[in-house]
Symmetry: C2
Subunit: 343 residues, 2 copies
């Protein structure tokens, strides 16, 4: 047997290789691998399923991530995938691999975060699996949700001339992570070390306690607007917008000057000597919604708060570009957060 | 914060402490934590959800578990949970944490096992998550299935005087594991070591490539028999029967002479100087179905092949006992395979 290193394929290439030729056997499988969530048809009601696996040392560092926040975030990122299908999360299962160094009280703290998220979003914990782990803390959460028939929004529906919107702001979570890493590096191991987070609370909150944009999904529904395509931002705007473009077989143009960036993100990028546009394009874990709507709904979109028009969909042959402030065209690349490639 | 060691609670005590007071928020949640699978009601059709987390070094040892078998087994144990609810598995999600030492080809081998199981049982792979792991190989599988309304069989429906049946035979998987461990210990690290498995193929197959008892569920349906309670044997007959008794608030009597044990299991237990009844009661991973049916269906049950009448349900105050060959009463204890307690 030959040996192909996983890093040569990357995460998406690997998934394509392992699952690319799978064809559904069950009539209840409407859509399988390749979107934010799978779509199942159980008795005419659309059921959504998504799952995430979080591993210590890869997805979180317990040196600076409080267990309660970790539980909250682990649940919310799954809800976000369901909202990104225009759905409503209803149930989760929580599986944990627990190392001996954890006490019952620490696990309760983690669980209290999961439960806080479930209460905030109206989701039930319906099952899971708990086992010991010889190594790090392992979290696997699966979320089941619902969406009305013909209301599901996939990644493949964007059309030429559609407008591209994004909710909230970009890059703050990534800057929060950089800040935490800096303070961890500065930590001398003593108990009375005081990390310097003054004035950076927003960045920390975006990294440690992100929210899913339930409000945006509800605001769109209230306006009677059904996006043509939607995805939640986990890998970064650039990477996630390319998912929509690739699956919709279209191109896009987004405008640098329109990228929503918080003041703290900009200041922090300056401090770290990073290009803030690069941070906005490639910083992961924003958990904002990126979606496209037909051009004629432009006026109606003004009734949806907290979202920003950042560009439009173009023909596939026009490619995917960022139009910079100084009038240059810069090709978008999937340089987002990708643990497989980083190995 | 106090520190309670997880080992003091055990797996079930821990789950109870973390989730005991959860009450459903969603109308679609029919039954949450505490059975083989959760029951959801999506538009009147019952949807089942179950999940398993498998960690290297805890649940499998890649020294002697071939990757294709591991993939097959990881899928099948989830199907088994759905069948144990009298359901039909329809979809799975597969999340993997992969260490750098794996090649793409090795992952394909693992995946070919998952896919073989899916084809054999008519199940679709609809999603998952793939990430790198700094430590061991991590597998999290969630299975979604369906069951007709009022046809779900839980653990809490056993009634006094019901008959207790178990499919297949007991303890073979555990003896297969002992055999593999023995040969691993005997292995000198050389490439030309030949493990001694002659005449023990059945035990290895039960450990490495178990099957879910779809056939038993179908045979029961063909006879028009709906069990009053059912569970699949993952922790061992004793532990799993106690789950039924505890949740149904009943006692039980099972007969040593009626426990179905394969010839190879008996011979191997003799070789290892183990009591074969203890192996049958406490050996885990049989993935057989244990279920109860009303006494008056005794004649009809003769039409169901491959199942064995091993005892009957008694009043709660009568306790849970094994009646030994020499007429003694031995209290059943949950001494099954429990990785949490073993730490």
């Amino acid at each position: 047997m030959g040996r192909t290193e996983i890093a040569t394929l990357g995460e998406f290439g690997l998934i394509e290789r392992l699952t690319g030729d799978i064809t559904p056997l069950q009539g209840s499988t409407v859509k399988g691998i390749g979107d934010d969530a799978a779509i199942l048809n159980y008795a005419g009601r659309r059921t959504l399923v998504t799952t995430d696996l979080l591993l210590e040392g890869i997805h979180f560092d317990l040196v600076y991530v409080p267990l309660k926040h970790l539980g909250y975030k682990a649940a919310v990122v799954n809800f976000s995938d369901i909202y990104a299908m225009n759905g409503r999360p209803e149930q989760i299962t929580v599986s944990l691999g627990i190392s001996k160094r954890f006490s019952v009280e620490e696990l309760e703290t983690f669980y209290s975060g999961v439960r806080l998220a479930c209460e905030a979003y109206g989701v039930d914990i319906v099952g899971g699996d708990t086992t010991s782990s010889l190594t790090g803390f392992t979290i696997s959460i699966t979320c089941i949700g619902s969406v009305a028939e013909d209301a599901e929004v996939c990644r493949d529906g964007a059309k030429v001339s559609d407008l591209i919107y994004v909710s909230g702001d970009l890059g703050a979570s990534y800057m929060g992570l950089q800040l935490l890493e800096r303070e961890k590096a500065a930590w001398d191991g003593s108990g009375d070390f005081q990390p310097d987070f003054a004035g950076r609370e927003y960045l920390l909150e975006r990294q440690l306690k992100p929210e899913a944009r339930k409000d945006v999904v509800e605001a769109l529904a209230a306006q009677g607007i059904l996006p043509t395509a939607m995805i939640d931002l986990s890998d970064g705007l650039s990477s996630d917008l390319l998912h929509i473009c690739k699956q919709s077989k279209v191109g896009c143009q987004v405008y640098e000057e329109r990228l929503p960036i918080d003041y703290q993100t900009a200041v922090m990028a300056e401090t770290f000597n990073m290009n803030v546009t690069t941070v906005a394009l490639n910083g992961g874990e924003d958990y904002e919604l990126l979606f496209t709507v037909p051009l004629h709904l432009h006026e109606q979109m003004k009734g949806v708060e907290g979202v920003h028009l950042i560009g439009h969909i173009a023909k596939e042959e026009q490619g995917c570009y960022l139009m910079t402030r100084d009038g240059q065209e810069m090709q978008l690349r999937a340089q987002g957060w990708n643990p497989m490639a980083k190995e």
